[in-house]
Each structure stands twice: as structure tokens, then as C-alpha cells.
């Protein structure tokens, strides 16, 4: 009997999602443990994020000579989204290897360990989000009820995207142990290449593709656009849809080829 049946892959994903008790608890506990010994608890995250955004926003706003009422909301929303995506990727690379104690002891869907990392990072994201609310209120970015609805939908899209690519990264990270530092340095470059500190309009027209072709830019747009009072473009939605589709196919393919071997890699 061949062990790499495709239906076992889908079974893993479906059972993983339905074991919500496990991944919510583990994800929540990861955050709890990290901040157990500090008085402010997870609000340290909020505080350090706020410090960074408020100081960088001022400096770069002056450097680029952009009106702070435009620049502050732009950099704040961009930074929060970027931080979510980059720490998530960093954590996901180790998602399975860190869970080796569980994996070798009890048979559970691998999906659980991906969702656990997603949960803890999303909790951090929500804390970071608190840091930018004063900016959004103070500069009155023109958020409407419709845009809030769009934002919630976009968060869902972002999470789906993160799940697919996260699974891919965690499989690669488990199989190839030197991938973590590689990802770390690649992410640093991506941060500078992605319009977070700078705006795509600053590019000469003919170099515009440098921004729009960048997947990180499109992911950041999902969250940033509704928060600074604009609808994300159709291009963004098209790009993201293709990204999710591609990621889903690659994820399924990799799982189909490797799922039965994951336990041997640990």
C-alpha cells in the first residue's frame, strides 16, 4: 500500500483545523510563557512597537519631507503588518522541529503546529495594533465602516496566505536545518525592498514594478490600505488570489511528497 495518499494530506489539514482546542491553547500558552516574568506582560510588545513607530515615523517623515499626517499612519500600519509577517515566517521555520517532543510522542495532525504558531503571532499582532490606534485616531485617516469590513476580510486573506506558505516554510525548515539564518537575512533585505519606510510614488514611473511585483508589498497593502482610508486595488486582490492558489498547490504537493517522512526528520 502506498503511504503517500493525497487524502491523508487533506485529512491532516481538516483534522488539524477542527482540533482548535489544541492549537488555540498551545498558541496562547506560548505568549503567556514568553511574558510570564514581566509586569507589563505582552504589553511590552505594544510599548516597544509604539516607541519604534513614533520615533521612526518622525525621523523618516522629516528625511523624506512628507507631511506627518500622511506619513505617520502609512509607516505605522506598514510596520505592524510587516512585523507580523516577518516574525511569523521566522517562527514557522522552526514550527515542527520545536514540536518534536509532541510529534514523537503522540500522533496528531501536523497542521496543529502551524496553526499554533499562527495563533501566537496573531495575538502579538493584536497587541501591536493597539500601538497604532492613537495615530489612526489622531490623524483621522478616514476609516469607514465599509473599510473596517474590508479590513477584517483582508486579515482573513492574509492568514490563509500565511498558512499555506507557512506550511511550506516549516517543511523546508525541518528538512534543511541551515534554512533559518538564510531566511533571516533574506527577510532583512525584503524589509528594505518593500515599500514600508518609503512610498512607491517616490520611485520613478518606469520602476514602479519594483513595488507592485513584490509579494510582501501586496500583503502589506491588504492591511495598510483600509487603515489609511483607501480600498486595496483590484490588482492587489488578483495578486493575492494567485498567491494563495499557488501556495496552496505547492503546500499540498510538498505534504503529499513528505508528510509521511516528517517524523524521521526530527
Amino acid at each position: 500500500m502506498k503511504r503517500n495518499h493525497l487524502h491523508l494530506v487533506f485529512q491532516d489539514i481538516l483534522q488539524g483545523f477542527s482540533s482548535w482546542r489544541i492549537w488555540l491553547l498551545l498558541g496562547w500558552r506560548d505568549i503567556n510563557l514568553r511574558y510570564r516574568r514581566s509586569t507589563l506582560g505582552p504589553f511590552w510588545i505594544t510599548l516597544s512597537m509604539a516607541t519604534m513607530i513614533y520615533s521612526m515615523g518622525f525621523l523618516y517623515g522629516k528625511l523624506f519631507e512628507i507631511d506627518l499626517s500622511v506619513y505617520y499612519p502609512y509607516i505605522a500600519t506598514g510596520m505592524v503588518t510587516w512585523t507580523f509577517i516577518s516574525t511569523l515566517i521566522n517562527d514557522l521555520v522552526e514550527a515542527l522541529s520545536k514540536a518534536s517532543g509532541f510529534i514523537k510522542q503522540i500522533k496528531l495532525p501536523y497542521t496543529i503546529y502551524i496553526l499554533r504558531v499562527l495563533t501566537s503571532n496573531f495575538i502579538v499582532f493584536l497587541h501591536n495594533f493597539l500601538a497604532i490606534i492613537p495615530i489612526l485616531l489622531f490623524f483621522n485617516t478616514g476609516i469607514t465602516l465599509l473599510l473596517i469590513f474590508v479590513l477584517l476580510l483582508n486579515i482573513l486573506l492574509l492568514l490563509i496566505c500565511c498558512f499555506c506558505y507557512g506550511f511550506i516554510f516549516s517543511l523546508l525548515g525541518t528538512r534543511f536545518q541551515d534554512i533559518k539564518p538564510i531566511i533571516g537575512s533574506v527577510l532583512q533585505i525584503c524589509f528594505l525592498l518593500t515599500p514600508i519606510l518609503w512610498m512607491p510614488q517616490m520611485l520613478p514611473e518606469r520602476f514602479n514594478y519594483l513595488a507592485s511585483a513584490n509579494p510582501f508589498y501586496q500583503l502589506v497593502n491588504l492591511i495598510r490600505d483600509p487603515l489609511i482610508g483607501q480600498m486595496p486595488s483590484l490588482f492587489t486582490y488578483g495578486y493575492i488570489s494567485l498567491m494563495i492558489l499557488g501556495g496552496f498547490i505547492v503546500m499540498i504537493f510538498l505534504l503529499w511528497r513528505t508528510r509521511h517522512r516528517i517524523a524521521f526528520w526530527l
Partner: protein, 249 residues
């Protein structure tokens, strides 16, 4: 009724050398058409289980014996669904609970109570079911106030007590265990044995790996003798133990 059926199960265990686990070296290897060789790049495979055929009936208590490296733990992991065999048919009717390495999966920074919750959830219990079990587990461990402290402050023996109590709190259908009660003081060993006896008598089938022939003789009605990934003998306990002892001589 046959509750576990294994037909021609083979397991090839890949052992990855450091080079095969490096993405950089992989890429260099591919882009240079394999001209730059960093040592040997192949993955070594160990044929850990060879053509295993096994039928275990409901009510069987099967002892698993064999020298170190005979494949006992690997077979238990296959039964628990942790390792998937390379080929062969595996048919298990019921939910398998494994007690392999009790210490694995304990979280050092969480307290004893929190570890109970985590384990309980992992085993598919609901929060209120765990709350019901906590008292019983706490009583068994005799750790009392320590249970509210992070378990990295425990001694190894205390951790073992907790791990064992948690892992054995749920009644399994099919119970797979690997020499769990190795260390511990005499008082705990006695209690642990009682508890295992109770679990064993409550479950539909038990597979127990042990080096202690006395334990096997007491608990099991059948015995599997393994050597180098193969089953040499499967049958009555008494004959099996004799067979094993004669082989050893």
C-alpha cells in the same frame, strides 16, 4: 476478533547526514552539476522493520522482547501511527494510546497543573474533562504544592511521577507502552505498577516492550521476540521466553 493486523510491514528509516540537511550544499551540488562533492551526499537508510506480519486479537496482552536495537520501539511507534511504514498494510481497529517516552513533551516552564491541561488537550479531552481528572492525577503524584511550580524546579524523579500520572490518566482502547517505569523509588514503582495493571486490564489490547522477563511473564499472554527488525517468534508467553533465553545463550 482481530484488532490489530499488520501485513508485510517494512520500514526504511532514513538517516540524514549533515550534508543532506544543508540547503546551501544542496544548491551548490545541483548548480555545479554535482562536480563539487562534499563527502557523500546520500541518505543512508536502515531497514528497521522487515516483513512484519502480526495479528493481535481483542483481549491480547502482548509482550515485546529483544535486544537493544531489535526494532521494538520502532514497531511501537508504527503501531502508534507516529512512523508510517514504507510498505505493507496496517489495520488497527480502535484508538491507540502510546506511552513511549513519558518525559517527552513535558513543558519545563509550565507548572504541573498546566502540563496536565496541555497533555489532556493533546489527548483529545475537553477542558471540563481535564478539570475532573486533575484532582486524581494530583493525588497520584503526591507532589502537592509543587504542582503549582514550573516543572524545571522538579527533580527527575518528580518529573517522572508527574509525566507518568498524566500519561496514564486516560483509559486507552489499545495501549502501547515502552518500558515506562524505569526509575523511581520503591514506593512509586509499586504504585505505578498497580496503575499500569489497571489500565492494562481495562484496555482492549496491550503491547508492552520490556527487558524484564518477570514483568512479561506476569502480565502477558503472548510474546513477540524481535531481532534485527524481524519477528522471530510470536506465540505463547512461556515458550517465547524459553525461545528467547535459548537464543541468548
Amino acid at each position: 476478533m482481530t484488532i490489530i493486523s499488520l501485513k508485510n510491514i517494512n520500514l526504511h528509516f532514513p538517516i540524514y547526514g549533515a550534508n543532506t540537511r544543508s540547503l546551501k550544499k544542496r544548491i551548490i551540488h545541483v548548480t555545479t552539476g554535482g562536480m563539487i562533492e562534499y563527502d557523500r551526499n546520500e541518505v543512508i537508510t536502515v531497514h528497521a522493520l522487515k516483513n512484519i506480519n502480526l495479528d493481535i486479537q481483542e483481549g491480547d496482552r502482548v509482550g515485546l522482547i529483544g535486544a537493544n536495537g531489535a526494532g521494538k520501539s520502532t514497531l511501537l511507534r508504527v503501531l502508534a501511527g507516529i512512523y508510517e511504514p514504507t510498505s505493507g498494510d496496517l489495520d488497527i481497529k480502535g484508538k491507540v494510546s502510546a506511552l513511549l517516552d513519558v518525559m517527552l513533551g513535558l513543558d519545563q516552564d509550565s507548572s504541573g497543573y498546566e502540563n496536565m491541561t496541555i497533555r489532556g488537550i493533546l489527548h483529545g479531552l475537553k477542558f471540563h474533562e481535564i478539570a475532573q481528572k486533575k484532582e486524581e492525577i494530583a493525588k497520584f503524584t503526591e507532589l502537592e504544592d509543587y504542582l503549582a511550580m514550573p516543572i524545571r524546579t522538579y527533580s527527575t524523579g518528580m518529573q517522572l511521577r508527574l509525566a507518568f500520572a498524566i500519561a496514564t490518566a486516560v483509559n486507552p482502547e489499545i495501549f502501547v507502552l515502552d518500558e515506562v517505569v524505569g526509575t523511581g523509588d520503591a514506593h512509586f514503582m509499586h504504585k505505578a505498577k498497580e496503575r499500569i495493571d489497571r489500565l492494562i486490564s481495562n484496555s482492549k489490547a496491550v503491547i508492552l516492550a520490556s527487558h524484564d522477563n518477570h514483568t512479561i511473564e506476569m502480565m502477558c499472554n503472548k510474546v513477540i521476540v524481535m531481532h534485527a527488525g524481524e519477528i522471530l517468534y510470536f506465540g505463547e508467553t512461556k515458550e517465547g521466553l524459553e525461545f528467547y533465553q535459548n537464543r541468548e545463550l
